[in-house]
Structures are given as C-alpha cells and as structure tokens.
C-alpha cells in the first residue's frame, strides 16, 4: 500500500520534472546572457588560471567554497559530537582478523605515494582537473588505507585539529587580506603569473592548498572517528 502510494507520488514527480527538463535544449548554448562566458574568458585572460572550474570554485564563487569547507568542518565536528561518549576515551578497535601481510606491506609502500599524489592534485588545482577537495580526499584515503591495514595505527587528534584549524584560518585570513588590501573579501592581491605555470593565479593556489590540507585532515578525522566507533 505504502509502496504503491510512494511509487505513484514518485511517478507524478518524475513526469513533471522530466516534462520540464525535456524543454531544455540539451547540449546547446541556451543561456540568455549567462555568466559562463565571462568566467571562461576572464579566468585565463585576467587571472592566469588555466582551470576555469578552479577559478570559479576558489575565486568567483570562493565564498561558496568557504562555506563548503565549513560544511565539512561542521560534519566532522557534528560526527564527533554525535558519537562522543563523554569522559571515556574512544574504545580500542576490536578487529576479528588482522589484515593480511601482503596488504600491510603494500599499504606501507603506497601510503607516501598516495599522500604525494594528493599533494600533487591540490597543488595543481588551478592547472589540472584536481583541486583542494580532490587532493584532500586522496590524502584521506591514504590514511584510510593505513587504518585499514594496521588496526593499531593512530592518528593524532591534536595534529588533525591543528592542521584543520590552521588551514581554515589560512583560507579565511587570505580572504580578509584581500579585504584589508583595500579590495573586497577574497579578492586577489598577488600577481597572477603566467598561464599554466605552477606559480600563477595569485591567491588561488594558496587557498586551494589550504583547502587540501583542511579537507584531508577533516576526512581523516571523520574516518578515524567512524572506525573507532565500536561498542
């Protein structure tokens, strides 16, 4: 009964949604006077940022990203708050089987490389499809790999929140520096450099590196909290 109700509700919803979506001229330039052309030309031309998505994420819509970083920060805080068990420390991870030696050895070898890959991804956020979030996620998965393989692997909470906070403060401070430099919040105040050089795009790489650190630390913290969550 409930299923039928839900299915019919979803059917109506889907039909109405698709009806409208079919009116979109798919894959064509259909915007009236959209903002995208401005972004596509300004980013390489004026900002020296090859990856326009990054220019948007970090600069044009950098405010979103600041919020997004905050969301992630809040998610970590929320998760540890929700799972926090008061004065008792987190329990030791009780693991039925230790991981295989092969996986352990492999993880040990791969871990630094994965961290390096993460760093590569967020350092090149303005040049390649990478970016702070992607890089951060990769770094966190590196830690995930270690946590999977070694049940006694410890991540320092203090270090994590230190990195997290410092990265967040960097982001916000760079924003405020733009503001104090006589511009507006998050406004670029550094030379933009040559397109496709590593050092280009003004404050964008700085922010993206901070984001990378922050996301990496936050996701690691999330994973760590979740893995240690055992009754």
């Amino acid at each position: 009964m409930k299923k039928i109700l839900v299915l019919s509700l979803l059917a109506v919803f889907g039909v109405y949604l698709l009806e409208v979506l079919f009116k979109i001229d798919f894959g064509h330039q259909f915007f009236l006077h959209g903002v995208k052309d401005f972004y596509l030309t300004t980013s390489p031309d004026k900002m020296g940022v090859a990856n326009v998505v990054t220019a948007i994420v970090v600069n044009f819509r950098g405010f979103d990203t600041l919020g997004e970083v905050t969301v992630l920060f809040l998610a970590t805080t929320a998760m540890s708050s929700i799972l926090y068990k008061g004065r008792h420390q987190l329990g030791e991870r009780a693991v039925l089987f230790s991981s295989s030696r092969i996986v352990m050895t492999g993880s040990k070898l791969l871990f630094p490389a994965i961290i390096l890959l993460g760093a590569y991804v967020f350092i090149h956020g303005h040049l390649t499809p990478g970016g702070g979030f992607q890089g951060g996620v990769i770094i966190a998965t590196g830690f995930l790999l270690m946590l999977l393989s070694y049940e006694d692997y410890k991540v320092s909470h203090v270090a994590l929140s230190l990195v997290e906070s410092l990265a967040g403060i960097t982001f916000a401070s760079v924003g405020l520096l733009g503001f104090l430099n006589g511009g507006t919040f998050l406004q670029n105040f550094l030379p933009t450099g040559g397109l496709n050089n590593l050092i280009s795009g003004g404050v964008i790489p700085i922010i993206y590196i901070a984001v990378g650190f922050k996301v990496g630390a936050e996701l690691t913290g999330l994973i760590y909290t979740a893995l240690n969550e055992k009754d």
Partner: protein, 137 residues
C-alpha cells in the same frame, strides 16, 4: 588524427532521464526502505542523481573540460579572441563548480546521517525505522 567518438544527439536526453531515474530510485529507497542504512543510501543515491542532473545541464555538445592546458593552447598567442574561440568548445564550468560543492555537502550530510544511525542503533538496538518512534504526536 581526426577522431570523433559518436554523435551524442542519439541519446540527447539520456542524461536527464538517467538522472531523474536515479533521483527517483534514491527517493524510493529513502521513503520505503525500513533499514536506516538503506534510507541513508537512498539519500546518497538521490544526491548522486541531482549531481548528475546538475552536471548535464552544463553540458555543451562535444565540449571539452574548461581547462586551458598547454596542449589545448598549443602555440596560439593568448589573445582574447583565441580564448573566446577556445572557450566555445568548452562545457559550462559553473555547474561543475556547483557540483563540487554539492558533492562535498552531500558527503558531509551522509557522514552525519551515518553517525546518527550508529547512535540510534546503540540506543534502540534496531535499525528498523518503524521501531524508532518514541517521539510522536
């Protein structure tokens, strides 16, 4: 080497249909499934569908990623006209930026949801949502 994959017009609206289907499947999971975990999965699927929809809105036929990489620019002088010409072959970067944000937000919500599920399981010793309704009326 000239190479053209195939003309996407055959599947013009496949993206939208797929996205909407994914949204509906996710919604179905969230609205009907009894297990908390499945509900959370439903919500994640829902998120994925929306992100797909968002990204397809920005698609431009045979457009490429909006990245002015050296290989793309080749030896063209970087004048405004050239940039404009290049940018015509690029997909809309805005939805991509939005999707990035939406994904991260969806991830955060999922993390919170899962930790709530853990709490609920600890408290009620069940994952059945029909048995978790101490709060009502």
């Amino acid at each position: 080497m000239e190479f053209k994959l195939f003309d996407l017009s055959i599947v013009e609206y496949a993206f939208f249909i797929t996205a909407v289907l994914i949204i509906l499947i996710g919604l179905y999971g969230a609205l009907v499934k009894k297990t908390l975990i499945k509900i959370v999965i439903g919500l994640s699927v829902l998120d994925a569908g929306i992100n797909l929809l968002l990204i397809s809105v920005g698609y431009v036929k045979s457009g490429t990623a909006p990245i002015f990489s050296p290989a793309l620019i080749k030896d063209m002088p970087l004048t405004l006209e050239n940039i404009k010409k290049l940018s015509e072959g690029m997909v809309d970067p805005v939805p991509q930026a939005l999707v990035l944000t939406a994904i991260v937000i969806g991830f955060g919500v999922t993390a919170v949801a899962l930790s709530l599920v853990i709490r609920l399981y600890r408290h009620h010793h069940t994952l059945n949502i029909d048995e978790i309704k101490n709060l009502k009326w």
